[in-house]
Structure formats: C-alpha cells, structure tokens
C-alpha cells in the first residue's frame, strides 16, 4: 500500500510540473498565433516579407542595397546563382535525388531525435530536483543513455559529402551564400559534443547540491547549442523555399542575417521544434514498450510502464499544438507565394494530405487508446469509462470527415461521372471548413482523454469542485458548439475572407479549452485525495500503441519532408536557381511512399542498433569460471 501511495504522489507531482510546462508551451504558442493575427492586418504581409532583391531591416525604410555597398571600401563581389544544365549533374547510375533523399532524411530523423531528447531530459531532471525524487533523475539519465549513439549516427548521415558530389553547383552556390556561417555551424558541433559528453558522463559526478546546478547548466548549454544548430540548418531549407537577402538572379545583397531570416524561417523553426519533441518522445516510448514486453519481472514492468507513460505523455502533448504551428507555416507560405501555397494544398501534392490525415488519425487513435488502456492502472477510473465511447465516436467521425477527399485533379470523364467537380453530397465535407471542424474536435477530445486520465486517480477536495466541474463541462460544450458554428456559418454562408478568419477563431477556441483545462485542474486537484494506482497493470496490447506512435511519427515526418521539398517544383532555390537535374520533377505519391517506407525501416534498424549499444553498457559478462580457477591454481 505504501509503495502505491508513493508512486501516486510521485506521478501527481510529475503531472503538475508537466502541466506547467504545457501551460508555458501554450502561452508561447499563443504568441505565435497572435503574430499571425497581427500579420493579417493591412500591409502586414508586405512588412513581414522582404521580397528578394528588396531586403531591409524591419522598421526601417527601404534603402537600396547599393548605397551601403558603394559606401564601403571593400566591395563584396556580386555573383549570380549558377545556371546549370543537365550535364553539370554527375550521373551515378541511380537517382541522385533518391540517394540524397535517404541520407538527408536519416540525418533529419536522428538530428530531430538527439535535439529533442536532451530537451525533455532536462525538463525531467528539473522535475526530479524540484520534487527531490531520485527516480526522475534516473529516468532522465536512462533517456539520455539510450539516445547517446544517436549523435554519432546523425553526424555519419550528415550527407554533405554526397550532396557535394551529386549537386556540385548547387552546393557551391549554397556555400557561397551562407559563407562563414558554415564555420560557425562546425564550431557549434564541437560545443554540442563537449556539452553532450560532460552532461551525460558527468551525470553521477554532479548529482547533488550545488554540483547539480552545474549539471543542469550544462544541460541548458547543450540544449542551447542544439537549438542554434537546428535553426541554422533550418535557414538553409527555408532559403531554398523562399530566398531572402539575394536579388532576382541570386546574387547576395544582404548580410548573413538577412539571408537566414527569410519569411518561412521562424514558422519552420517553431514547427520543427515542437515536432521534434513529439518525435523524440514517441521513439523513447517504443524503447520502454519493448522493455516492458520483454520482461516478466513486476518491478521492471512497473518501471517501464511508467517510462512508457511519460514518453507517450510527452509525445501527445507536443503533438497537440502542432497543427497550429502548421497552420502558421501554411499561412506564411501563402503570404510568400500564393502559387507555392496552392501547389502544396491544391495541386498534385494535395492528395498527400489524405495520407497525412491517415497518419495523424493513427497517432491520435493510438495515443487515446493508450490512455484508455492505462486507466486500468487506477481504481478511480471507472467514473470516466462512459466518456471513452463518446470520445472514440467523435474521433472516428472527425477522422472520416478529414479523409473525405477534396476534388483535386479529375479527368473529364470522371467529372462527367460525378456530375460536377464536387460530389453533391460529400462535396461540402471535402472542403476546408469541414476539415477545420474535424481537426479541432479531434484535438479537443484528445485533450479530454488526457484530462480524464489525469483525473482518474484523484478526488478533488476543494470546496468549489462542483463549480469547477460545471465550468469545465460548460467550456467543453460551448467550445465545441462554437467551433461547429464558426465552421458551418462562416465556412459556407459568408465570403472567403471571413471563412479563413473564422478558422483562427476555431483554433483559439481549442486553445482556450486546453489552457482552461490545465488551469482549472491544477487548481482543483491541489491537495487532492489520491486513489491507489498500480504501475505495470496495463494490458500488453496497449504497448503496441507505443510502437504505432513512432512509426506514424517517422512516416509523417518523411511525408512532410516530401511536400516541403516538392513545393519548390523545378527549382533548387525557388525563383533564383533552377534545378536542371534529371530529377527535377515532383515524384508520384506512390514513389514517395516507397521512399518513406524505406527510410522508416532503415531508421527503425538504426534505432534498434542504438538501443542495443545502450544495453551493452549495462551488461556485464560474468567472469568465466575456468579462468578463475586457473588463476587460483
């Protein structure tokens, strides 16, 4: 009984701390979203986006670049982007793009993993310090241990060598544009390695007292270096999509900051930052699930169950705000180039969002299922069982609406068969307002699952609990009604401008529910009565949800990489440097699907290798007896 109680308290503290982190994340996100609102005002897009060839510092009037160039004594040479022809691309017998695709994607997978893990490891370590519970510390250390090899794997897949060999002119141009930034990047790698090894190997050496704070600072520096590396690498990708700091022919006219700070840089930064955390959580969750399934030892099972739960918590938590970050990114893409936006959402790539819906549906269903299965750990969960049916129903309906295809590319005969470019019954479900409703409802009910799970082992003792409950239920009900109303009324009965505007209000409603839920629950369950709960008491099949999550996450990242890269169409650097290689077309979705599965399976194998290396360090070979005897003799 006593250990149960301890565990409950431990988890309670943990949930509260993470609750705060979530609030922080939500606040950050709100700022992100509010900047979208701000930018939607008159002239906002104009100010925000410095078109190529007209880069200037925010807040200042446009000064022709030559003024500053002319006044400087040392004149930088203006070199236009190279114009390549097909013979400038080495032919290696297989598709160069496929090679780079695999290398780059593996690099990104491991890069994302090793950037994300230290982030939540530091958070968990902090929780450990705050609660004084050493088990947090051990878990953080274990997370670190299993991802350690990932750093080397990331470096191995750097892929730059292949890029230089396969796309010499393009890489030469990129080197020219980013110049000294590459040196900073390389230097940061040394810093990152230094902090990584001191942070990991110094864990036990700096475990208590003031030394612990030194250790935490190392963790912070590690994350600082990692984050800087990430945003630098992001600037290359966003420069390729929406170049800034160069003129129409690709000659550099701005400084490195102006080159980096393109219109899509920050949206990508935020999006990747959040997604990395979700991805990292999902991958270490699979580790815990595997360990859980491999052992019959109840104590170990309890430990890995708790670890798996935490990983799932991190993954889904990071996942919830992701669509909003994606919304911001898409809005910026449309603002930068309507043509690019339509290529992504309405052109040949549009079918891809059906696949995206399948993947996100898988993630949400798996995450929810894991939470529901996890309710068997606690004795207080019976109260909430009826909700599960409702949540599952909303999830499935919303999911079906989401995958209803928008009319995209139909041949004349298909249009004739359908009697118009939209299906007369399903048509209204295929367009954006319906999908917006579906997505927001899915997020809301997933949060409801979360909230119910977190409540399942507690009974509120504060006197105003009935008021709090009533308010919470009312917020859910009104928010859902509001989201449906906004989508249906503005989406189908007013003009386009209001339709787009109302989707922001829908997103805000979802955010309000999430923030209100966190605030009300963290106040209401202060000093709550804790019901007994039993870690490890979860069906084996629930662990498969923890495998579905990383697979779907990995696949989703691969898919989004395909669309992000493809919207550039036949350009290396959009509008500035044409791609004249044999692979300058957008591959079919089926081809992309095969490639993504290849990289996903490769990633899976390398992750297994990484885990295996980690398990080696904990294995000690027993001293062979014959040798021992020989020694004595």
């Amino acid at each position: 009984m006593r250990s149960n109680r301890q565990q409950s308290i431990r988890r309670n503290g943990f949930s509260n701390r993470l609750g705060w982190l979530l609030s922080l994340l939500a606040v950050l996100l709100t700022f992100g979203v509010s900047s979208v609102f701000a930018d939607m005002g008159i002239g906002g897009a104009e100010q925000r986006i410095a078109p190529i060839g007209r880069v200037h510092i925010e807040g200042q009037d446009f000064i022709p670049a030559v003024d500053s160039v002319a006044s400087e004594i040392e004149e930088p040479e203006l070199i236009a982007a190279p114009r390549t022809s097909r013979k400038d691309y080495p032919n290696i017998g297989v598709s160069s793009r496929a090679v780079v695709w695999i290398l780059a994607q593996m690099h990104l997978f491991f890069g994302a993993l090793v950037l994300a893990v230290p982030l939540f490891v530091l958070a968990i370590e902090l929780v450990g310090v705050a609660t004084g519970d050493e088990r947090y510390d051990s878990m953080a250390h274990e997370f670190m241990k299993i991802s350690l090899t990932g750093f080397s794997i990331t470096a191995i897949f750097g892929g730059s060598l292949a890029l230089f060999l396969l796309y010499p002119d393009f890489m030469g141009y990129m080197m020219h544009v980013f110049g000294a930034q590459w040196l900073v990047y390389a230097a940061l790698f040394f810093l990152e390695s230094f902090f990584l090894y001191t942070y990991y190997y110094g864990w036990n050496a700096m475990r208590y007292g003031n030394m612990k704070w030194v250790h935490l600072s190392l963790g912070l520096l590690l994350n600082g270096a990692g984050m800087t590396i990430m945003v630098m690498a992001n600037s290359w990708a966003t420069f390729m999509m929406a170049p800034s700091g160069v003129n129409e022919v690709g000659a550099v006219i701005g400084n490195i900051w102006e080159v980096m700070k393109g219109p899509l840089w920050n949206p990508i930064n935020l999006h990747r930052f959040i997604a990395n955390i979700g991805f990292g959580g999902a991958v270490v969750g699979a580790y815990a699930a595997y360990k859980f399934l491999s052992t019959k030892d109840m104590e170990k099972r309890a430990h890995y169950d708790w670890m798996g739960y935490t990983s799932n918590f991190i993954a889904i938590l990071a996942f919830l705000p992701l669509p909003f970050a994606g919304y911001w990114l898409m809005a910026e893409i449309y603002a930068y180039s309507q043509q690019m936006g339509i290529t992504a959402m309405g052109g040949i790539l549009a079918w891809l969002f059906i696949v995206q819906a399948v993947l996100i549906g898988t993630i949400l269903l798996a995450g929810n299922y894991y939470l529901w299965a996890g309710m068997s750990r606690t004795e207080g969960s019976k109260r909430y069982k009826p909700f599960i049916g409702f949540i599952a129903f909303v999830l499935v309906i919303s999911f079906l609406i989401w995958v209803t295809p928008h009319t995209l590319m139909l041949s004349a005969s298909e249009i004739a068969q359908l009697g118009g470019s939209h299906h007369h019954i399903l048509g209204p479900l295929g367009i954006m307002p319906a999908k917006n409703i579906a997505v927001n409802l899915m997020l809301i009910v997933t949060f409801l699952s979360f909230q119910l799970y977190r409540r399942s082992d507690k009974v509120a003792t504060v006197s105003w609990a009935p008021i709090g409950n009533a308010l919470m239920v009312a917020i859910y009900v009104v928010a859902i009604v509001n989201i449906i109303f906004l989508g249906v009324y503005f989406g189908y009965f007013t003009n386009t401008v209001y339709k787009v505007g109302s989707s922001v209000a829908q997103v805000s409603s979802t955010l309000v529910v999430i923030i209100a839920g966190i605030v009300i629950d963290s106040l209401m369950f202060k000093n709550a009565k804790i019901l007994p709960s039993h870690w490890g008491r979860i069906p084996d099949r629930a662990q498969y949800a923890l495998f579905a999550l990383p697979i779907a996450f990995t696949w989703l990242m691969g898919l989004m990489g395909y669309v992000r890269s493809s919207v550039k169409t036949h350009w290396h650097v959009y509008t500035v440097m044409k791609d004249n290689s044999p692979d300058n077309f957008i591959p079919t979705i089926g081809y992309a699907g095969n490639m993504i599965t290849i990289v996903t399976v490769l990633f899976l194998l390398f992750v297994l290798f990484m885990f295996w290396i980690a398990s080696l360090s904990g294995t000690k070979q027993p001293k062979p007896e014959t040798v021992a005897e020989g020694g004595v003799a």
Binding site: G41, A465, P466, L471, A474, N495, A505
Partner: protein, 50 residues
Amino acid sequence: MSEENKIGGAVLLVIWIAALSISLVAFYGLDHLIMNMQGLPLNADLTPAG
C-alpha cells in the same frame, strides 16, 4: 463525491446555468475579439459587419 451531496439540487442548477452563461459570453467575446484583430468586424448577431 461527498461534497457534492451537500449541495442542494437548486443550487446545483444555478451553478450549471451560471457556468454555461459565463462560457457562452466568454466564447462570444472571443469570436468578436479574434475576428476584430484580423480586421474582420462582426455585428452583434455574429454576422459579418464588413
């Protein structure tokens, strides 16, 4: 559970109605706020005023 039992049915009804009204007002305000921030004002009945 025990706390809830102490509250009478009438009081509970008031609480629920109050919670619902507060939420309605809050989300009504939110819609106006968000749409106004984007330069898309609404009438009192939530129809577009632009």
